[in-house]
Amino acid sequence: MKNDLKQLLIATQLSFLVLWPMSAWAATLAFGEHLASESLLSILATLLLSSVVGITALLSALKKEYEKSGEIKRLWLFIASNVTGSNTAGLFVYFGADSWGIPNGGKAVAIMAAAYGGNWFIERAVQSFTNKTVPEAK
């Protein structure tokens, strides 16, 4: 069982290491033009906007978890997983919306919706992953 778990973790690490450069390369191909034309400030503002959505979802999840169990182990992992999903999805939609020609108001709504969606997706992914690899608490 312990070996299986170790192998699974190594496989996950390997797939992450192999897939990461490919996805970064694909992102520059898809959004390269926009990355060059967008100012750092607007990217930072988008990151902050999506982070706020992520933190809102995070606080609701924290409250729910505290009501259920009183304490959260690996709190930083919990926070990072929630906010990373929001940031990634928010940034992708921001660059995508630029190329689709959506007006600024719609773009802000799309970023917020994507940030919430990204948060939801990562949270589910982390939950299903941890349920598979870590024995359930009794």
Binding site: S39, L41, S42, A45, T46, L48, L49, V52, V53, I55, T56, L59, S60, L62, K63, Y66, E67, K68, S69, G70, E71, P103, N104, G105, G106, K107, A108, V109, I111, M112
Partner: protein, 142 residues
């Protein structure tokens, strides 16, 4: 020793003061955005229809936040606004979201950036205060 204890008991705590500050700031922001056309805040709030909608939402949220602070923090303990107390983190984060959208609008429309530190400060500090509030009220309660 006793007098110190009594004084600490009656002094407003830092988180209550911060919530009062947030509600006042949001209120002043809303009133400036509505009634002061010569200000930068007005320009940002009226940059497009969505920004106006966000500004009106901020005014509404300020009223809800003021009810929360007034009833749950300042009035005696027998007065409780349960719903706002339960959803306090959502009220605070909704106010933060309004400021974050206004900051984003300011950057996207290329409006003067002197106002950005104001938005940035609120967008960073309010979530921290909301996080601390959740930790204080719910951690180890089970």
């Amino acid at each position: 020793m006793n007098s110190t204890y009594e004084r600490r008991k009656t002094t407003l705590s830092a988180d209550i003061l911060f919530r009062i500050f947030v509600v006042f700031t949001a209120g002043i922001y809303g009133s400036t955005a509505l009634f002061q056309p010569e200000t930068l805040i007005y320009q940002v709030a009226h940059a497009d229809a969505f920004s106006e909608l966000i500004m009106f939402s901020l005014c509404l949220l300020t009223i809800i936040g003021a009810v929360d602070v007034g009833v749950n923090d300042l009035l005696p303990e027998r007065f409780v606004a349960k719903r706002t107390l339960k959803e306090r983190h959502l009220i605070n984060m909704a106010i933060t979201l309004c400021f974050a959208v206004q900051m984003w609008t300011c950057v996207k429309y290329g409006l003067p950036r002197s106002i950005l530190p104001f938005y940035g400060l609120l967008v960073v500090l309010i979530p921290i205060a909301a996080f601390i509030d959740i930790q204080k009220r719910y951690r180890f309660t089970k």
